[in-house]
Symmetry: C2
Subunit: 411 residues, 2 copies
């Protein structure tokens, strides 16, 4: 099945909001072997919406639209779809009841504007939206289907797997293909070197095996995609071969982030972790605690931006601070030990550095970050020089700290 | 000028990576009045790439592509562009020198695969990429221009404003339109109620004035866009009128996030802030410290996931914890006071709650979050019930805590 996604909204085109819906939908379609062949973003403009939807219907079996279903005046998708699929508009009592329920649950009374959500095209089959006032609408033309969904990611994420996908699978019962993915997580090697190492291996692969490189800060996600009747067997074989060829760079053989990998290792070993963050400002703790169940291994941490927090809360020596400066290996090591001690943890992860744009000193340019990991009493540390602007330095320092902790625990 | 963006890469279509380049480009084009009329995402597939690029060239004056320029085998954009614009390939010594410089700066030796970056279409004018090995390439057809840029956001963000935009402005000197934006930041009111309040005002506006609602957790960004010779005057008038009509909901009259607004208020008043985070796990500290210059007002904070961190680091009373539970107003208030005290700050912001999916208890469902703000000795607090999954509860609690701190400081 070929799926096209049309994302509607001036706010996306203007770059004020980033579209995350299309990726979310692609990830949910992927296990069925249904392929997203293109994503088109258009503004709240009837002509461009019509062109994008017509092109998508020509090309794909299924078209999914998100956005443009709110009650405000710039939301015109419903009218455009009624124009494309024919017929007039009708009032839907169930949609009104759902909208009233949603507004009541938010402690609000429904107003006239929100009441207009219940006006839907006659050509649409309505799917109730459990999380919002805008109805999800399904349209058919010959063998093709269009589903219009709201733009709020929370609503689409709730309604798509629960109601839309089952309805589509019912409509196309024979279309479940076979596609398999396997992932290796690599660190300590650039993408081009992996590609060079793997060139002979890639040349020897059959057509059904495809390799994708997905690099991010300090990490390459290497994904094997296989398709066809032998997909699972080929994927397992390729995965095992790649894990062997690249073994010195592999930190996980499944699709996990460094944070997920670290939490899993801590859980297996019954270890607790604490953080002491200066330049990463809480991002390491945030990255870990974003993961469900992290409270089993995360004791807590200290964000020690000011020097007196480093000394008074973490117990860093004022003499060490004076002698080496806040951005130094001795301070990072005392922070890591201090975090583990005051938070009663086995592992302490510490960062101190210059995220920029200000703060550089002679010999310590922006991007200089000292990272230390204290694991069961033993401390390792390293000074990094990260490129990029503030948010990138913070992200790279965070991922590097997590990878350092993984290495320290597994060595 | 009409601009179309074509985003290239299987990883985007599969939803493994979210496209942030198109929004970034749109935000940089916006001040010129150059409008992005559509974004198309295609995979690493020559036919689909050709179709998307041809359609974009038909529709727009300028086409920007991102992605597909890496040295690995799935990156085929260069070949496709040579096919579209004609001519063969040539070797570019400057691109090779740049690639060698980049690899050396990373402490790596250039390999044969990376050397292929220096092979470029004869029809392309090369713009050097200061941050990566892939060259930026500019192509012309009649009055139209296509610029191919790398997919790595860091590289595109660096090269676009510095080199690509000036080259485009030089090519189209008369195309600087006049467009103005003004923003109001609102909290404490749903989008539909704002729209209902503003309906008569909107009806009275001239064609050149357009209103956009950009809601996110607990906040609505209300943007006035005006166009034409009177753009600035109309924008100022509309902005002042809206600020008056909505004054009880406005927390800022410019385009700032709650975190930016809070840091500005703290700076103006010479106040220092500290955080005590349980369920938000460091995200409040991270959100604040992501902003350049935040170290002037942020002392630090404590992530007190475990109860013994709440008692031992923040000084929360064990009796209070036993009597009320960790998720309670008394604990939140002691955490806020404790953060301010141990981090030597004037303002303490604390959260304790159940982010889910586990952890719910009778009477305290997932999404229950107690937030307290201690400002100069006085404490306010509130229990919220946030909908959504873990990451949404964390985000909503973070924004609500920042807004509570803004209200407490400005009241």
């Amino acid at each position: 099945m070929r799926v096209r996604i049309v994302v509607i909204g001036d706010e996306i085109l203007l770059g004020r909001v980033t579209d995350t819906n299309s990726g979310m939908l692609a990830r949910m379609l992927d296990p069925l072997g249904w392929k997203v062949t293109g994503v088109t973003v258009v503004g709240d403009d009837a002509d461009r919406m019509r062109t994008a939807i017509s092109n998508a219907l020509d090309d794909a079996d299924i078209v999914l639209t998100t956005g443009g279903l709110g009650p405000t005046r710039d939301d015109i998708t419903k009218q455009v779809l009624a124009g494309i699929f024919g017929g007039g508009m009708r009032h839907d009592a169930d949609v009104l009841a759902n909208a009233e329920r949603i507004m009541n649950a938010r402690g609000l009374k429904i107003n006239d504007l929100t009441r207009t959500q219940a006006i839907v095209p006659e050509s649409a089959t309505v799917i109730q939206n459990p999380c919002g006032t805008a109805p999800v609408m399904m349209f058919s033309r010959a063998e093709k289907t269009l589903v219009a969904m709201p733009g709020v990611p929370f609503e689409t994420r709730a309604v798509f797997p629960a109601s839309v996908l089952p309805a589509l699978m019912e409509r196309y019962p024979s279309a479940a293909g076979t596609i398999e993915h396997r992932t290796l997580m690599l660190t300590g090697i650039p993408e081009s070197s992996v590609a060079e190492i793997l060139a002979p291996w890639e040349d020897a692969q059959p057509q059904e095996v495809h390799l994708a490189y997905l690099p991010s800060y300090g990490v390459i996600r290497l994904r094997v995609d296989t398709i066809g009747p032998r997909a699972a067997e080929l994927a397992d074989k390729a995965h095992a071969e790649l894990a062997e060829i690249l073994k010195q760079y592999v930190f996980a053989t499944d699709d996990v982030t460094p944070a997920e990998c670290l939490l899993r290792l801590l859980g297996e070993r019954g270890l607790k972790v604490a953080t002491a963050e200066s330049c990463t400002g809480g991002n390491i703790a945030h990255t870990l605690t974003l993961i469900p169940g992290s409270s089993a291994s995360v004791q807590g941490g200290v964000v020690s931006y000011a020097n007196d927090v480093k000394t008074d809360v973490l117990g860093v020596s004022a003499d060490t601070l004076a002698a080496h400066g806040a951005v130094s290996i001795p301070v990072a090591e005392q922070m890591a030990r201090g975090a583990a001690r005051v938070c009663h943890a086995d592992v302490g992860i510490a960062t101190t550095g210059i995220a920029g744009p200000g703060g550089a000193t002679p010999g310590k340019p922006v991007g200089t970050v000292c990272i230390a990991v204290s694991a069961c009493g033993e401390v390792v540390s390293h000074t990094y020089h990260f490129p990029g602007e503030r948010s990138q330095v913070i992200d790279r320092a965070t991922q590097s700290a997590l990878l350092m902790a993984i290495r320290q625990i597994t060595r």
